[in-house]
């Protein structure tokens, strides 16, 4: 992730494959860790922490989707559906059985993974646009099922209220308390994915993305690995759903609609497909964009527009910016924010001898 290669010589393959190959990277990670462990919770206001918390949740989901779409090349417009599967699984376990968070979260993920595998089965036969629409269909079918099976949804309101998670007897309710809880899962997702992508499975995913028939010829069981990708990706989505549920206090399928699925796709595209760091950037960017637009316009737009115009302008400009940025990144910088970051990084890569 962090590079300044000057003076570093690798003497084994293991060193080359290491997660953090360079000493400077270790220092950088340490710095970032200190920032997120101390600076953020101590300096940020509750409101900013709320934003950061939403980013942390989005990071888990975005990385999950990136595993499927960015690394394995299988597009999904149905991740909102997997999130609601995770959310309702956990909510039912929590409310009916009083299951603690450390069981509810993986349980939500596993159920979502199971559904993900079922949705992924057609990926053997169909691809591209057909698969995209099949995943979209799965989203509708999941929503319909939750809406109509009260055994799952807990009643006609289809909302299940969930008590806050308690860690060692502590109830986590305020943004400050939830911050560390969510940070833990976001970091777990990042580290797990970085490791996964260095493994045999990760390499198989990338082979399938780059050329699936060729991957099959060199002996990768495409079907099995595609299902792995669907399972792992929807596991992350399920976990994201549970985190949302804990964070918002309710499980509600209406908040996991197509727009959410598209939002997550936008995150990984703007961040840069097939990159964990890109997914993190994208999650932060898309979560903060509406807020930034609003704050900017309400504080500086007054010069040009009346308050009334600004109220109409803000949400619609956010839409336009959101859509426009997706198009912009696709055309101008397909590798997304991650590429911009690498450009900066490459400058320092051979520093101080960067000529």
């Amino acid at each position: 992730m962090f590079h300044s290669e000057t003076g570093v010589f690798k003497t084994s393959y293991a060193a080359d494959m290491a997660l953090l190959p360079l000493p400077v990277a270790r220092w950088a990670v340490l710095g970032i860790a200190l920032f997120f462990l101390f600076v953020v919770p101590l300096v940020f206001s509750a409101y900013l922490l709320t934003l950061v918390n939403l980013v942390l949740i989005a990071v888990v989901g975005a990385i999950g989707l990136d595993i499927l779409t960015g690394y394995t090349g299988q597009i999904s417009i149905g991740h909102g559906g997997f999130m609601s599967v995770g959310a309702y699984t956990a909510a039912n376990l929590i409310v009916r059985l009083g299951v603690p968070f450390w069981l509810a979260i993986p349980a939500g993920g596993l159920m979502a993974a199971l559904i993900g595998i079922i949705v992924g089965i057609p990926s053997l036969r169909i691809k591209g646009i057909y698969l995209a629409i099949a995943t979209l269909a799965s989203q509708f079918i999941i929503a319909w099922t939750i809406n109509h099976v009260t055994w799952i949804s807990g009643g006609i309101e289809a909302s299940i209220q969930v008590p806050p998670p308690s860690v060692f007897g502590w109830k986590l309710q305020t943004p400050e308390q939830l911050y560390f809880f969510l940070l833990f899962f976001a970091v777990l997702a990042i580290v797990a994915t970085l490791n996964l992508m260095r493994s045999r499975i990760g390499r198989a995913f990338i082979a399938i993305r780059d050329q699936d028939i060729a991957a099959e010829i060199i002996g990768i069981n495409i079907f099995r690995y595609k299902l792995y990708a669907f399972a792992i990706s929807s596991f992350y989505a399920g976990v994201t759903g549970v985190l949302y549920t804990y964070y918002l206090g309710i499980a509600n399928y209406e908040q996991f609609g197509i727009d959410v699925s598209i939002n997550y796709l936008a995150m990984i595209i703007i961040g840069g497909l097939g990159s964990v760091l890109g997914a993190v950037f994208g999650a932060a960017f898309i979560t903060i964009l509406p807020e930034a637009t609003r704050l900017f316009l309400t504080h500086f737009g007054g010069v040009l527009f009346s308050q009334d115009t600004i109220r109409t302008l803000v949400p619609n400009l956010t839409l336009i910016l959101f859509g426009g940025l997706i198009i912009f990144f696709l055309i101008v910088e397909p590798e997304g924010l991650n590429r911009l970051w690498r450009n900066i990084r490459n400058y320092f890569r051979l520093w101080p001898f960067s000529y």
């Binding site: 939403l54 309710q173 206090g249």
Partner: protein, 405 residues
């Protein structure tokens, strides 16, 4: 940067801040773009008259696009900026914020949507529906049908056509219960989202089931299509009553205009039309400033609901200021202020609303306006129906909820 902004907003003197969530984009945008200007205009009107006891009101609006995470984010933002309460928009958003309201002791309003049981002020101390909830609306619709059909529903057939989402399901248990009480036959017809085609449901109602009365609880595109479809199938629109979110000008326009919708009964929790003193005052304010009144004002149903929302908040703050003797009220003061609202009519735009610590719904009043010529004409007075049954249900549900948590 954001920290600096927050500081700026707080620095203004003698301002009382209310968080305001809107839906100017997203699936329910037709409502938000009309409703929110109403709230702002009323608050501007009060401010232009010197505010409430010298305090200016600031409704800080955010668009949530009907999504929950931004609603939570904005709630936290408003709370941090020192808001005395929050105007919520949307049922899932209300459910998500409910726990937080209680925890932070912040009053929040959910007029005409949200958690039906939250009319019970004992179990939902900080949530204020401040208008007829879905149960009251369903009960009122049955009562209206009963009156229209000559005072008895025995052996009659009623069709309930609903948007197939949680909010659409909400009135169903009440109507089902009433079908046993009143002895009518009930059949339900679901309109699944996105509801851009309802022709087969309409055919099933008008051609096959042929009910004596239709209760329409749909949103978005569907109400307009139902009006048009029933009309084309020769079903009398005078025997259709729409709950509050199928009762706007947009629905009439979508159906093809006033001429198509003649006789259609709309249920309102704020008066429809422009003929109210407060609307005249707002128009006068715009005239004085030399500006055109906003286009949203023509959409009287939603606009007036916005005005009503603003007015109820102003009334609550006014009450709170009597409690604090003119000092800046806390959110809890505003909560108490809401519970002091008594017989508040806003010159006829509002039902005679009385909110108490027990009853946050304010009585569950509605009024039916019928489409006649080029507008809405009152068909009934403000009324409510089967009140005991509704209140009983609110209590029972609230108790269950309390036990579950």
């Amino acid at each position: 940067m954001a920290i600096a902004f927050a500081g700026l907003a707080q620095a203004e003197d003698k301002t009382i801040l209310i968080g305001m969530q809107c839906d100017r984009t997203g699936p329910t945008q037709v409502v938000g773009t009309m409703l929110c200007p109403g709230t702002h205009d009323y608050i501007d009107l009060i401010n232009s008259q010197g505010g409430v006891d010298g305090w200016k009101i600031d409704a800080s609006e955010v668009d949530t696009a009907y999504q929950v995470p931004p609603a939570v984010e904005e709630y936290e933002h408003a709370k941090q900026q020192g808001a005395v309460g929050i105007m919520i928009y949307g049922t899932p958003q209300t459910e998500a914020l409910n726990q937080r309201l209680e925890q932070d002791k912040m009053p929040g309003t959910s007029p005409g949507f949200g958690i039906a049981a939250s009319g019970d002020g004992q179990y939902y101390p900080y949530l204020f529906p401040i208008a007829a909830n879905y149960w009251s609306q369903g009960a009122a619709a049955v009562k209206f049908a009963k009156d229209q059909l000559g005072g008895s529903l025995k052996g009659k057939k009623i069709a309930y056509i609903f948007y197939d989402n949680p909010a659409g399901h909400e009135p169903m248990p009440v109507i089902e219960e009433l079908s046993k009480v009143e002895g009518f036959q009930l059949q339900t017809f679901a309109v699944p989202p996105p509801g851009v085609d309802v022709s087969s449901q309409v055919l099933a109602i008008a051609q096959e089931y042929r009910p004596d009365f239709v209760i329409d609880h749909t949103f978005g595109k569907s109400p307009a299509l139902i009006i048009k479809g029933l009309k084309q199938n020769g079903y009398p629109l005078t025997h259709v009553v729409a709950l509050v979110w199928a009762s706007g000008e947009a629905d009439i326009m979508g159906a093809g205009g006033w001429s198509v919708a003649q006789g259609y009964n709309t249920m309102q929790f704020a008066g429809a039309g422009e003929d109210y003193p407060v609307i005249k005052e707002i128009q006068a304010m715009y005239k004085k400033e030399g500006k055109e009144p906003p286009a949203a004002m023509k959409s009287t149903v939603y606009y007036n609901r916005g005005v009503q929302q603003g007015a109820l908040w102003v009334a609550a703050i006014k009450n709170a200021l009597t409690l604090t003797h003119g000092q800046k009220p806390t959110p809890t003061d505003v909560k108490k202020g809401f519970e002091m609202i008594h017989d508040f009519t806003l010159g006829g735009l509002n039902a005679p609303l009385t909110i108490t610590a027990d009853d946050h719904e304010g009585g569950g009043w509605v009024k039916i306006f019928r489409v006649k010529d080029e507008g809405f004409v009152p068909e009934t007075q403000w009324f409510r129906a089967y009140r005991d049954l509704i209140v009983d249900r609110e209590h029972k549900t609230a108790q269950q909820m309390a036990k579950a948590n």
